[in-house]
Symmetry: C2
Subunit: 133 residues, 2 copies
DNA sequence: GCATATAGGTGTCTAATGCACATATGGACA
DNA sequence: TGTCCATATGTGCATTAGACACCTATATGC
């Protein structure tokens, strides 16, 4: 548990609870991506801050493959170390669709949350002596 | 990790990673709430489905108190078992404000995610033979 | 030779939390 | 009286995610 998301964070270091839908979308956008590239592109879409652990990405991708959401193949072409390229399966696309539906609902809840927050916070500010920020 | 949020969920049962801001807002809306009531009201604002474990709520509230985000007092008035009433402290309000800021950013990321999803999904549907739904 | 960027991992420990279970009060009802 | 249910608050255990440290390998620049 965290005091607040971007706080000095007392003990916890929990990161992306929502890596899965991000990786699935990035694969939909560019099928055949490899882990290192996905880890870099995931930062822009990360719901929990711009930090994305590459090791978490690799593990997630292996889990995807075990569950049949992606298949992979080695790519030894080009310079540098070999890349393992990942490709979405039909099941992967289906999973992504379910994730997207859930995230739409989440956005609805988020809107309700923020609306209620805006309704409730002014009184609290007044009642406690108008703290700044 | 989950295949998808509302899937038959193979192994995991992870619930609300975002209980904290919900409870803080509910306390702002009705200061002096008790855990059982918060658990019921939290279902409407839960980002991960309508299930909210009361035990998680109680544990979260005790953690809040330990961290100084709330203070509590026993209420033996009225019928039934005693309630422990919780009151936000200034630190609790501050934490809520930080959470709200983070959730605003999250909604921005969510918007980008859903926009990119809508851009990318039609091609995938066409390329794979227009699956239904 | 050595650092750095790219690329892909494993091992381990901690924190979150779902589930089962324990406790107590008071009302309904037979 | 006894039993059941709703309210109300918790604890203990086992599973799980994930942060961090660490390891390997290739190619390029200095």
């Amino acid at each position: 548990m965290e005091l607040a998301p971007t706080f000095p964070s007392p003990t916890s270091r929990r990161q992306s609870t929502v890596l899965e839908p991000v990786l699935l979308l990035l694969l939909l956008e560019k099928n055949g991506s490899h882990g290192y590239d996905l880890a870099n592109r995931a930062r822009r879409l990360s719901l929990t801050g711009p930090e994305v652990e590459p090791s978490s990405v690799y593990r997630c991708l292996r889990w995807f493959e075990k569950e049949g959401l992606v298949r992979s193949e080695w790519d030894n072409e080009g310079p540098g170390a070999s890349r393992r390229r990942y490709f979405l399966t039909d099941l992967g696309v289906k999973s992504l669709r379910l994730w997207a539906d859930a995230l739409k609902r989440q956005r609805g809840v988020l809107d309700e949350y923020l609306g209620r927050y805006r309704m409730a916070i002014p009184q609290a500010m007044a009642g406690r002596g108008k703290q700044s920020t």
